[in-house]
Structures are given as C-alpha cells and as structure tokens.
Symmetry: C2
Amino acid sequence: MAGGIGGRFWPVSSQECPKQFLDVLGCGKTLIQLTVDRFKELVPPENIWIVTSADYKKLIEEQLPEIPQENVLYEPCRRNTAPCICYVSWKIKKRNPRANVIVAPSDHIITDVKTFREGIAECMAFSAETDAIVTFGIRPSYPETGYGYIKADLSFSSSRQKNIFRVDSFKEKPTKEVAKEYVSQNNYYWNSGIFIWSVSTIVNAFRVYCPEISHIFEDIYSYYDTPQEQGMINQVFPQCESISIDYAIMEKAEEIFVYPSDFGWSDLGTWSSLRRMSRQDEYGNARIGENIDLYDTYNCIIHATQQKKVVVQGLDGYLVVEKDGTLLICKLSEEQRIKLFH
Amino acid sequence: MAGGIGGRFWPVSSQECPKQFLDVLGCGKTLIQLTVDRFKELVPPENIWIVTSADYKKLIEEQLPEIPQENVLYEPCRRNTAPCICYVSWKIKKRNPRANVIVAPSDHIITDVKTFREGIAECMAFSAETDAIVTFGIRPSYPETGYGYIKADLSFSSSRQKNIFRVDSFKEKPTKEVAKEYVSQNNYYWNSGIFIWSVSTIVNAFRVYCPEISHIFEDIYSYYDTPQEQGMINQVFPQCESISIDYAIMEKAEEIFVYPSDFGWSDLGTWSSLRRMSRQDEYGNARIGENIDLYDTYNCIIHATQQKKVVVQGLDGYLVVEKDGTLLICKLSEEQRIKLFH
C-alpha cells in the first residue's frame, strides 16, 4: 500500500513526493525500497503488488524497476485501505486463486528484519491452511497514543500455531491514561496494519462484511488485465466508500487472529517516532544529513540532507528540517501542528 | 574603511563576502551602499575614497560603480585602522592638501541620517578652521559591553561649537558593572569609530605620534597616482605595525574632541545588535527574508533571504540564519561562540 500523502512529515514529505518515496532515515534507500527489500527473501518480485496513485507512477518506476509494471495498480482517488485491498485482492485472485497474501504499508520501518521474517513465515503457514485473518501485533514499549491497539485473548491460541492468538477486540487510539493501562497489561498490542490471509479468505470476507465494495471490484473482473482495466477502475473506484480495512472487515469478522511480536516496528507517523527509530547520539539527537554539528543540544531530530552544513546550539526537544528551500523549526511536543504550518 | 572580514556574522558573512557587502537588513542595499548613500548629500562621489582588500575589487565595482576606480585603495594585508587611514590621508593630501575629511567604517548603520548629517556639518565646520581631531560619540541607550567609551569633559566645550567637547579619556570595552556606571553618568559616550579632521591635521598627527607608519607612506609619496603605486604599497604595507587609530593617535594626541549625538547608530557587531536595529514585530522578532512564519516565538532574529519558506515554532531569544546551504541556529546569548562553529 503506497498511496499515502505524508502531510505530517512536511516539509520533507510533500504530496508530490510523500514519505514512502523518501530516504527519511538517511540510509541510502527510500521507505518503499526498504519495504520491498524486507520481503525479497520471502516473495519474488513478480509476486509483489503495489497499489498507489497515478501521480507516483514515475517514482515507482525509478525506485522499484524490478517490480513488473502490471503489478502496479493505480487508484484514481484516495479511498482509505479497504477499497485498495479489495482491488488488489481480486487482481491476485485472478492470477492465482490459491495465493497466500501479506498486506503491508510501504512507509513503515522494521529494524529487526530477521524476527519479522520468522513471524511472517509462521503466520503464512497458518493462513495457508485456515480461513484465518492474521494481524501483526507489536508489543508496546511505551504508552503511545498515536496507535490503535489489539486486545488478544491469550487463553485461546491456535492449536496449529502456539504464537497466534484470537483477537478479543480492536481499540481506537487511546488517551495517555488508557494507553498506560494497556501497556501495564500483557495482552494489548499495537495494531501494525500488517495483515496475512489467503486471497480466498479476504475475498470472502469482503463479500460478507463489505458487499458494496466487493461488488464494485467483482463486477469488472472481466476487464482485469485488459487495456480497459484502468479506464474501468477510474470510473468505479470513486464510487467506493472511503473506509479502512479495520472498520470494513477486522472489527466485524470472526476468525481474526493476532501474532504478537517485537521487531522494532514504527509507522513513522511523526517526527518523534522517526527520532526514536533513528540512530541517536549520546544526547538523544538523531541527525539525518551530512555535516550536522550540535552544541548543547539534546533530544532533537535534525533532517537536512540538502544543506552543506548545519550548526545547532542550545535546543532541547526540537525538530529542525530543511528541504528544497523550506526550513521548519518546531518543538517535537508541538509537531501535531505541522499540518497548519504548510 | 571596507577591509573587515565579518567573522561574527557567519554564515551570512564570509571572508569571500563580508558583511559590508551584504544586505544584512534586507532593505535592498548592502551596508557599504547605505554608507555611501549616507554621505551623498555631503560629499560628491569623486571625493569618496574606499580602502579595502584586493579580494573585494569585484564587489566594490559591482556595488559602487559611481566611485572612481582611482579612489579605491587596496591593502595587500590587514593591518587594522591606523595604516589604512595613514595611506588614504597621504593620497587625499596629494590630491588636495586643504581637504577636510570624514573617516567612517563601511559596515555600521545609522537610522537617523538627518541628525547624522547635521552633526557631520557642525564637526566639519569646526575641523576646517582648527587642528581638531573630532570623534563622534553616541549617547549610550543601554550598558553595552562590546563598545569602547569616550569620557567627555563637558565643562570644556569649544568656543566655536557649543556641541563639541574636549575628550577626557578613551575607555576600553568595559565589564557590565562598569558599563552600567558609565551609562548612569551623562558624560560617557560610545566610541563610534567615525572621525572628522582636516587632512593636514591627521598627517601631522601621524608624523608626531606614529612616525614609523607615517614614514612608510610619506617615503613612497612620489609613486602615488603612478602605475607603480600598487606594487610599492604591496611591498611596504606589510611592514606597518597592526594598530588601531585609537591606540596610534587618539589616546596620545592633544586637541581631541567629541561630538555627542544620537542618530540610531550601531556597528552591527553582533546578531543581537542587528536584531535591535531591525524592524521588529510585537514579540521582538526581526525577520530578514520573505515568507517567514513565526509561532510562539519571541526575541529572535531570522535571516533567511534565500529560503522560499521558513516556519519557526517555540523559540525565544535565538538566531536562525541560512545562507548558501549553511544553517545556523544559536541562542543569541551564546553568539560569541559563532566563530568556533565555522
């Protein structure tokens, strides 16, 4: 899933080039390249599908030349995750009705890829043999209020896979108090937005729990892989309700499972989370860019990959970002206001 | 005098283009252009002389095309103000031995030009008829520790000019305590570094108080205005002691006068002084550049004339400067450390 527009990462991210297409970690690869890399040992490139906006066609071709063009699907407008997943599921079903599928956002990071791959392998073994919908739950390391949580029923694990548990309920983004309560218990996990299921399972789930969207993509089934496909999609996609997969399927379906894990995951939804996931100096500063000198500076994130030199003296808990002639300096504790600064 | 290298204004100022050649106020004119403009009503361009480094020949030609090339003198190395003034004084003396002279730095600002011109006129009337050396003293508006002070003997004013007083003594840059003491009295003035004298007075003063430097420029008198002049200067100038006009002449000579005035002067020696002299918003912020948005920000100076957009949230008492790919963020109270940041 690569359709996000990344407004919270302004001015580094922009609608023209949102964060999945940026090297926000300063590691030499963009987030979508890192995401594809993460799956390379498990999934050959011809089995990787990307759903994005037509605006990003050129970026996809530049950054992911190994992905076949016919595996890149273009949404004509943004309709959240459910229509995106429904469309690609029908496409995959047409190519291989017995496919086993991993759905993942293109702009998250995972630092412990080995543990992640082991988890994926366990979950796929499970989803291949069952009608299970499996979500990845992340053991919370602190009471984050920016994530949804999954409450697991730890008394009910799968007989096939000891590490996979039935979901009790999905929880909206909590207040700080509630988040602390969740973290203090041992059966609440961050909802990573990474899902595993067989294509037949998810298509059936759409038919049952979300028939309007399901019909839209089923009705044009005969146009898939024809020159008319994009034209039809452009016509019918806007008719879809804008709804997340969580609301459309997860919170309604039976047989939802969670695989609790801990592989250094972040949705990189905020500059604070990027600082947390980046390499920090001994004073808690994350520097992305060359030649960044810090004096008396603590707990900051400095992102300036185009500047020749940056000197910061006397800041604590700030973000400093420069890109393409736009400079932003803001307290990390106030970063939710960035959208108002554009 | 236009030979300074402006290290304290890094990264806006650099040795390649020091602050006198920059539009630090964001008013559309550089400091040296403002300085020349300030004298235009009093002095025709052919009577304006500039002493600078050969490195800045191109900048002078670009910024001050109206100044005759033969009036621009090039020092081969930096030797403080006394050799600079001695050289140009001999040059002026050769052209017009009865000349009346104003010496001024090229990188100061004066906000009340009308009052300044009135002062200049009074002082020139005085220096034309006497052997007086007149300095401009600025009534201190606060206890600045970065300036030298002039103590006036207010009981002894000139019979010709009631507003011109004999100097009691020159005072080095004081401590904060001493500066407060000076300001609490009514006869201490900031030493502006602006001087008025007749050319015969200053040449004689050099002969008496600073004979080594005087000899150097007197000995090559016959080369002035010949093709050999620059070659001779390049040879003899480095032999000069590096010494300020204050040490070389002012503190030794008799007949030193001060003209106390108040015309919104600053040597712009620090970012703090630039903030003080710039137009500020109601929260004490000075913005130099287009499209600078400030939120919860107080007492800052933001200098970013090349950036398309700057957003600052949550700073108090900082400078934020961007130029040519270099970004500096620093507490104004720590700006003396800027030299260490280059």
